[in-house]
């Protein structure tokens, strides 16, 4: 509130977010694509956040225009959705609202099976010609895995169509009967859950969770990030490292002794030394890692001075790391258009790699480097 106007105006998201964040000692990002719950958690004992607080944060980010109509709904009282345990011979598949079954997917799940992992399959239950059927509409692969793992009972979350019939639920006009209505619900929900609204786990979230469960490769990669002054982050903020998947690929590159992470670490250290505050820039550290490895393979020794002189030259010529990689790619494309290449590069990491070698040879040239595929 301004000390001059003294009034609160119409809804403004940024203002609302700032107001909400006043409750917290440690502010955190509240964006459409992610509310940073890991930073938010630092405001709570043990880092445990009540869902209500997250719900409030969601309402603020989405704003009043996206708020659903206020209502209270007790699904337990409504009485159509239930949980129960079923025997194997009570369960069915009605392919009208299911995908084909993939044995190779079942085998894949099996390789990663743990009895604490299965989510509860979803179904509709309906009596047809005197037989009670429970038709799985989500989690069929999981339930098949349970069977292969020797389960004698199967958890199911189901819509009780028989109860809907008993209660005389009104069937919308376009359906012949309530069973067709329920089939439509199951099919729509199947697509809704498995396709339309499926949200893949982001590489960042996966990395942070694997770090929490002490996955060895993740811990090792994170140690390198810490040692070189970076933190895994979702967005490119100061000192942040956002390129998790590419980082994992480069981390996995081994030297002659099978050691992982060596080129990854030196490339990040190069960037940190040259641009101390900037977030890790993918097309700076990745081509540098490739260069360190290629030099080792071809028997070129790159001393510490190499990192210093190349870094300083890049700063002098191009400035910050984003501008640097953009400029290096531009050098490559200029040369491509002016002189053409027999085998043009098909990926930015190699375009920048070639440009780095060209710039070093032209501007510094103290050490020998591998031949660039595209020279200019």
């Amino acid at each position: 509130m301004s000390k001059n106007t003294g009034k609160v105006g119409a809804y403004n998201r940024q203002t609302e977010i700032k107001q909400f964040l006043k409750k917290f000692e440690k502010p955190f990002d509240m964006k459409d694509d992610a509310i940073d719950t890991r930073t938010m958690a630092e405001n709570y004992p043990h880092g445990i956040i009540p869902l209500e607080d997250i719900s409030q944060a969601i309402d603020i980010v989405l704003g009043p225009n996206k708020r659903p109509k206020v209502r209270t709904f007790d699904p337990e009282l409504q009485g159509y959705l239930h949980f129960d345990w079923y025997l194997w011979d009570q369960l069915y598949l009605w392919p009208r609202f299911q995908r084909d079954v993939a044995p190779n997917h079942i085998f894949k799940i099996e390789g990663d099976w743990d009895d604490t992992c299965p989510i509860v399959p979803c179904a509709i239950r309906v009596t047809i010609d005197g037989v009670v059927y429970v038709f799985i509409w989500d989690g069929h692969h999981t339930v098949q895995n349970m069977k292969r793992q020797g389960y004698t009972k199967f958890p199911v979350w189901f819509l009780d169509v028989d109860k809907m019939i008993e209660d005389g639920v009104e069937v919308p006009e376009e359906f012949d009967d309530i069973v067709e209505f329920a089939v439509n619900k199951a099919g729509t929900n199947m697509v809704r859950i498995n396709s339309r609204n499926k949200r893949k786990l982001s590489a960042y979230d996966e990395f942070m969770i694997l770090l929490e469960v002490k996955d060895s490769a993740t811990v090792s990669m994170n140690n390198i990030l810490s040692a070189t002054g970076y933190l895994p982050k979702r967005h490119p903020v100061e000192g942040g490292f956002t390129q998790i998947k590419s980082g994992q690929t480069i981390f996995e590159m081994t030297d002659d002794y099978g050691t992982k992470g060596k080129y990854f670490k030196r490339a990040l250290a190069f960037q940190k030394r040259t641009w101390p505050m900037a977030p890790a820039e993918l097309e700076v550290w990745r081509p540098m890692a490739l260069l360190y490895k290629q030099c080792e393979i071809e028997g070129f020794t790159l001393d510490e001075q190499f990192d210093i002189e190349l870094g300083e030259k890049l700063v002098e010529l191009y400035g910050d790391p984003s501008s640097t990689q953009e400029a290096l790619k531009e050098l490559y494309y200029d040369a491509l258009h002016e002189q053409g290449f027999t085998e043009p590069r098909i990926h930015d990491q190699w375009r920048v790699y070639d440009a780095l070698i060209s710039v070093y040879k032209k501007e510094i040239g103290r050490l020998d480097l591998p031949q660039a595929q595209c020279r200019f």
Binding site: S2, H235, V237, Y318, D320, S322, E326
Partner: protein
């Protein structure tokens, strides 16, 4: 060549005792047009649109520093929406310190102009033609 500028809220600039400290951080390749837009809301008798702090650099460095600063200063922006989202609330010194630290830490190739720029001394800028 392009400019990064800090423009202090004219009300605060004239009467810091009465008004909240606030400034805009923006970039432009056409300062005469941008200053004209700012001037549009005020009579020159009371206020001459001015960039209070200015840095010059190539288009790439200026565009990238703007992106970085917007992220860093996000928490100091009170309102979003047209006309609001560039206003940064808080001490001008804090904003300048953030900009200078960022130039140093990210090593942007930008140069401080060292004086206020208004329509009256625009000729001091040699913006030239950039490749991008």
């Amino acid at each position: 060549m392009k400019l990064l500028y800090v423009k202090i809220c004219p009300f605060y600039k004239k009467h810091p005792d009465l008004y909240e400290p606030a400034c805009k951080v923006g970039i432009t390749g056409h300062p005469e047009i941008r200053l004209g837009v700012y001037q549009n809301s005020y009579s020159h008798l009371n206020h001459t649109a001015t960039f209070d702090y200015v840095w010059a650099g190539d288009t790439r460095n200026i565009n990238n520093i703007e992106k970085t600063l917007k992220t860093q200063l996000d928490m100091s922006i009170e309102k979003d929406g047209r006309g609001h989202s560039e206003w940064i609330t808080g001490s001008i010194g804090m904003v300048l310190e953030q900009i200078n630290d960022t130039i140093e830490g990210y090593r942007y190739n930008v140069t401080p102009i060292g004086e206020e720029i208004s329509i009256d001394n625009l000729n001091k800028l040699d913006l030239g033609v950039d490749k991008i």
